[in-house]
Amino acid sequence: MSTVVLLTMTGLGLGALYFLIASGLSLIFGLMDVLNFAHGALLSIGAYGTWWAASGHLPGAGPGGAGFVLAVLFGTAVGTAAAVLLELAVVRPLYTRPREQVLATVGVGLAVPALLSGIWGSDARTFPGPKALSGTFGLFGAQVPVNRLVLVAAALVVLVALRLFLGRTRHGLVVRAGVEDRAMVTALGIDVRKAFTLVFAIGGCVAALGGALGGLYFGSVDPRQGTSLLIFAFVVVVTGGMGSVSGAAVASVVIGLVQQFANYYTAAGLGDLAVVVLLAALLLVRPRGLTGRLA
């Protein structure tokens, strides 16, 4: 029983992390048809930004309490800024050339980890975090790490915030309409490119937050973390249905749980395979993913 509880909580934590990457990825693809292979790099930037700030480089920030919150805010802000820069400087000039656009994001996705390795080395760095978040708590006989809960709570907040944004705001309305028919949105007199930048900013912000909190989950940061998580985020996006935030949420939980349970009850590594098999099976039955719709 305690094993099942622990696996479930760890799977949910991992699912939450996947959701933080996949939600932005899904919106970006849904609205702009951009496969953003640099999305993992945004997560890494968030993770390193937080690590850098919490390691005492940013005045006021630190590994504990309000200092850690400040460090997370800093990492998230840097990731958001990087996402906006990415959209304006790399993605925007290539909207009419989708192939080059994909290649450019792949390039950024490779360059950022290389840059991080160049500056801070390719080895994993211990991630400083508050003592309160590094402990465990008892749940049905299992000792569950607190950081799992932090990730799940953050993912829930992000899910609610994204749904409110999409459902209640004018910008959200433009994004939902743009996912359906971008050209018609412009034909109503709306500059859809502003929505592109906004969606990139949101996606970058959420991914960077995922990087910051992922540091807690893994206990360390390394330059390749973002890229390896990105693969599963793509699986989540395809499983959940392109452009659907709620679909991404459900798919994240399913993928995280399947991966954890399969890794534990079969051989280590088979969990990753199980996820891909699950995706293939789903696509055979429902080619558009769990949901073809947004929000």
Binding site: A187, L188, G189
Partner: protein, 248 residues
């Protein structure tokens, strides 16, 4: 500038995927009433409209009230005061009726004219929380036309608004366009010649991506031989080419 046509299109050329779709379209839209854009299937009517709006890459000259718009992006062209109801209606199926209309709101002096839209289409008020994808074709067309009436536009472009609709709904749509045209000039792409006969004062006919004829609509439709040659409407009086009676 208050003389001359409201919209003056000169030598509009559109090249898509290495293929010339338009070879030089000239088109004047009058400052009052309905100007019909006619032609056989594939003549380039929809591409002309999309070219005017910048939805396809184009060259030539498109002047709205004397202002050159050919190098402007679509959203800027539209903000100059154009309401556009596209051929496929351009409805956002996953949004509600109210959201579809809200999306079309633009900042203007008077604010969105919901009073007018709901007066013309009371159905839209009753169904405002319904997803637009679940509406009938006629109701979707009401949303599409409603969007063009929401803002104080200078020009309405309606691309085959009666296509695929039941005869009764065609009459309804025609009545609404007739009423809209009292206040705002309309460029109407239309295959239903009964509707054209009822609404249009002026017309332009396209053939193979070029302008083949421009002039008063009654003149063209009254000349069975020319109409048949340009529009391919078959034998007999032009009015009977359509299944719909103009009832006023």
């Amino acid at each position: 500038m208050t003389t001359g046509p409201l919209l003056a299109v000169r030598d509009l050329r559109v090249l898509i995927g290495g293929r010339h779709i338009l070879h030089g379209v000239d088109l004047d839209v009058a400052r009052h009433g309905v100007t019909a854009l006619l032609g056989r299937n594939g003549a380039g009517k929809t591409t002309t409209v999309r070219g005017v709006l910048g939805l396809v890459p184009r060259t030539g000259s498109v002047r709205l009230d004397g202002e050159e718009t050919v190098s402007l992006p679509t959203h800027t062209v539209v903000r100059l005061g154009i309401g556009y109801a596209p051929e496929d209606r351009g409805i956002f199926a996953g949004l509600t009726v109210a959201e579809n209309l809200r999306l079309a709101e633009r900042r203007g002096a008077d604010g969105p004219a919901y009073g007018l839209v709901h007066e013309l289409f009371p159905e839209l008020k009753r169904r405002e929380r319904q997803l637009a994808g679940t509406l009938s074709g006629g109701q979707q067309q009401m949303v599409a036309i409603g969007r063009t009436l929401l803002n104080g536009n200078r020009l309405i472009i309606a691309d085959e608004p009666t296509k695929g609709l039941a005869p009764k709904v065609v009459t309804e749509v025609a009545q609404v366009l007739e009423r809209a045209a009292e206040a705002v000039p309309v460029l109407l792409v239309e295959q239903n010649l009964a509707v054209v006969r009822r609404l249009a004062e002026h017309c332009a006919v396209l053939a193979d991506g070029r302008t083949a004829h421009q002039g008063p609509a009654a003149e063209l439709l009254g000349d069975a031989e020319t109409a048949r040659r340009l529009l391919g409407v078959g034998h007999g009086p032009v009015t009977r080419a359509s299944s719909v009676e103009a009832d006023s």
